[in-house]
């Protein structure tokens, strides 16, 4: 609907561009072209880029999956959840247990089913979903902030279980995650040795493609949900539960289902996290992780899938980049701040600034820049600076990719 605000803008006669054609028709070939170009660059990247960036990319892909999931819950449906870390942990632990080999690690006797990793991944996603479903009766009864604090409980209970249930989780020290493999093709350094254009394709390169595929799938799935009946129902539910139920939306049912979907996303993100780090430990799944995910979707722009992607890349890559280039960035490294601290200061400040001044987040900023490109004359203000949960409809920043060709 807000799509129309972009296309049928009154001042859409850019003198500089000299083509008064409606923006809609122009985008019909420009956008797919850009998408294809972007995809080609992404696919070719492992040929040129060093390992660090590929690993960062995979970590970011995991974060993207998780952030999209959380955004469906918090941004689209207005259910504040701080339990995301818990669902990530469920996914990660299930994967490690189902696909890991049983064996001793020091004093701890570790269990494991030794099943193929793809099964571990699926089980991880399903179990995380199940955990979400189990929590959803409580979640559906609680409103807004009560839910936020109640979900806090899951994180602490989760960390406690991770610490105590040594047989499965490896306890305090955690345990290592098995390599991913698909039908005999491992995503590790060997087995089979692989060279593409004389570039050795090792773990980082292989995981990069895995991350790309999973993140893309997660992205498309979320966009399709948002653009279909459930998506509209959820947005109505966010804006007013009463209005939603009057319109025939099953409020409890939708709340439970979006919790299920969101925690399945988190489960997949957890599996990817385990793969990216190579191991799991209780301390990685604490409140801090939940807050980081919250930071991602707030910075990206609540309710926008594109925003979640941008926010996830920003938040997950920044500390790694800081760490790597510590000596190049002023105030960081040496006598100044540690990389992690600098990143945290930045996130904190960014959250506050975004909520104060740009409730639509990075997606809103990107949108405005794009809008200025389209119409050099006028500034675009699709986002009145109101409450972020309300202004941030997903539609303005998610114009259909192919939809306008019809």
């Amino acid at each position: 609907m807000s799509e129309s605000t972009l296309t049928e803008a009154p001042g859409a006669h850019p003198s500089g561009v000299g083509r008064p054609a409606p923006a809609g028709r122009r985008r019909s070939w420009l956008r797919p072209l850009l998408l294809v170009l972007g995809l080609v660059v992404m696919l070719a990247l492992p040929l040129y880029v060093e390992e660090f960036w590929l690993r960062t990319g995979f970590a970011a892909a995991g974060a993207i999956v998780g952030a999209i999931g959380l955004n469906l819950l918090v941004g689209t449906s207005g259910q504040l959840s701080l339990a995301h870390a818990f669902f990530l942990a469920v996914g990660a632990v299930s994967y490690v247990y189902v696909s890991g080999e049983p064996g001793g690690l020091g004093v701890a006797e570790l269990g494991g089913l030794g099943l193929p990793p793809i099964i571990g991944m699926i089980v991880g996603v399903l179990l995380a979903g199940l955990a979400g479903l189990l929590f959803s009766p409580l979640a559906a009864r609680l409103r807004g902030i009560y839910l936020g604090v109640a979900s806090l409980a899951l994180v602490f209970i989760g960390v406690h279980v991770l610490n105590s249930w040594t047989e499965v989780t490896g306890g305090f020290n955690g345990r290592s995650a098995p390599e991913f493999s698909l039908f005999g093709f491992t995503f590790g350094n060997r087995d089979p040795e692989l060279y593409v254009l004389e570039v050795p394709f090792r773990e980082a390169e292989r995981l990069w493609y895995l991350g790309l595929v999973l993140a893309l799938a997660a992205y498309l799935f979320a966009r399709n949900i948002l653009r279909s009946r459930p998506g509209r129902a959820l947005q109505t539910l966010r804006d007013s539960e009463v209005a939603a139920s009057v319109m025939g939306v099953n409020v409890q049912g939708y709340k439970a289902r979006i919790f299920l979907v969101s925690s399945m996303y988190a489960g997949l993100a957890g599996v990817m996290y385990a793969l990216s780090i190579g191991s799991i430990a209780p301390e990685s799944f604490g409140l801090e992780l939940s807050i980081l995910y919250l930071a991602m979707i707030v910075l990206g722009g609540l309710g926008s899938v594109n925003g979640a992607v941008l926010g996830a890349i920003f938040v997950s890559a920044l500390p790694l980049v800081f760490q790597r280039y510590a000596d190049l960035i002023p105030f960081v490294g040496g006598g100044g701040l540690a990389a992690g601290e600098a990143a945290r200061f930045l996130f904190g400040a960014a959250i506050v600034l975004v909520i104060l001044f740009e409730p639509a987040g990075l997606a809103g900023i990107a949108n405005r820049i794009a809008g200025r490109f389209r119409r050099p004359g006028g500034r675009v203000t699709e986002h009145p600076p109101d409450t972020p949960t309300r202004t941030s409809e997903p539609s303005p920043s998610d114009p259909p990719a192919q939809g306008s060709t019809t």
């Binding site: 918090v74 902030i145 806090l152 209970i157 406690h160 945290r344 959250i351 104060l356 409450t387």
Partner: protein, 296 residues
């Protein structure tokens, strides 16, 4: 039995601290509709400044200055950020306080580093015995101070101009504003009071039997969250009951941890959250919270 009584006494003392912190949550929520996630770092700020200042200033002065610093920090947060967002959605307000919390906490942890800071309480680590029941002096004084403060708070809430203004604006902000009650002032004062309460709680929480100021002091405020929630976020009495309930439950779980070993070590830290979930199952707005009514 003696063990039970002594645990009960310790639980009440811990609960009194939780109640102080939870009262802070509640009045902030009532005055500005904000669920403050900044409280953890405010608590740590209080503990940190008292500990750092007590060497040059001596305990008593350090305590006063430390409490003032915390109150000032709360005041600044309210003025600079929360006040600008009046009327924003509850969720964005909560998220903004998380942002502030990240900044403050990172700075405090960086400053504390690996030091163990101690607050030199004049009563040190002494303990008192009543019959067979023992309790550390620190905890006993904490009960007394908390009782006085909570009493003062409730009296002020009921009789003082501020209390009346605050209850009026919590009831119906717009009407209160029309009656000449300055919303901004009410909210700022609520934050200051919450800051003071948190700092006082911090003062005792870092004393015996807990070892000094450490980043884990922060987690205490998170355990006071359940106290505020299970009492009902908009009920001051609920915060008191919730605090005591949580404190006693936690102390019991810690005291009987040998019997509870099958639930894992350190189970007591999780107990507040389990109690909260159990209560919320049956009463979604807490024990004494007002039920949200929907008018069509």
């Amino acid at each position: 039995m003696t063990q039970f009584l002594s645990l009960l006494l310790n639980g009440i003392s811990l609960g009194a601290m939780y109640a102080l912190i939870a009262l802070g949550f509640v009045i902030i929520f009532k005055a500005s509709e904000v669920v403050s996630f900044t409280h953890g770092s405010l608590l740590l700020l209080g503990a940190y400044s008292i500990a750092r200042l007590s060497e040059p200033l001596g305990f008593l002065l350090a305590a006063v200055v430390g409490i003032a610093i915390t109150a000032l920090a709360a005041f600044v947060i309210e003025r600079v950020i929360i006040n600008r967002l009046r009327g924003a959605a509850v969720i964005s307000l909560a998220i903004v306080t998380i942002g502030v919390d990240i900044i403050l906490l990172t700075e405090l942890i960086r400053r504390i580093g690996s030091d163990i800071l101690n607050v030199p309480h004049p009563w040190a680590g002494g303990s008192v015995r009543v019959g067979d029941v023992g309790i550390s002096e620190n905890r006993l004084i904490a009960i007394a101070v908390a009782a006085v403060l909570i009493g003062l708070f409730f009296a002020a809430f009921k009789y003082s101009n501020w209390g009346i203004a605050m209850r009026a604006s919590a009831e119906d902000g717009e009407t209160a504003a029309l009656m000449g009650i300055k919303q901004g002032r009410v909210s700022a004062l609520a934050w200051v009071v919450a800051g003071v309460l948190a700092a006082v709680a911090a003062l005792f929480l870092v004393g015996s039997p807990t070892p000094g100021v450490s980043p884990s002091t922060y987690a205490v405020a998170l355990r006071a969250f359940p106290a505020a929630i299970l009492g009902g976020l908009d009920s001051t009495g609920g915060a008191l009951v919730g605090g005591l309930l949580i404190g006693i439950a936690e102390a019991m779980a810690a005291g009987y941890q040998d019997q509870l070993l099958f639930l894992g070590r350190g189970f007591s830290a999780v107990v507040p959250f389990i109690v909260m979930i159990a209560v919320l199952m049956f009463r979604p707005s807490g024990l004494f919270g007002t039920k949200e009514l929907t008018r069509v």
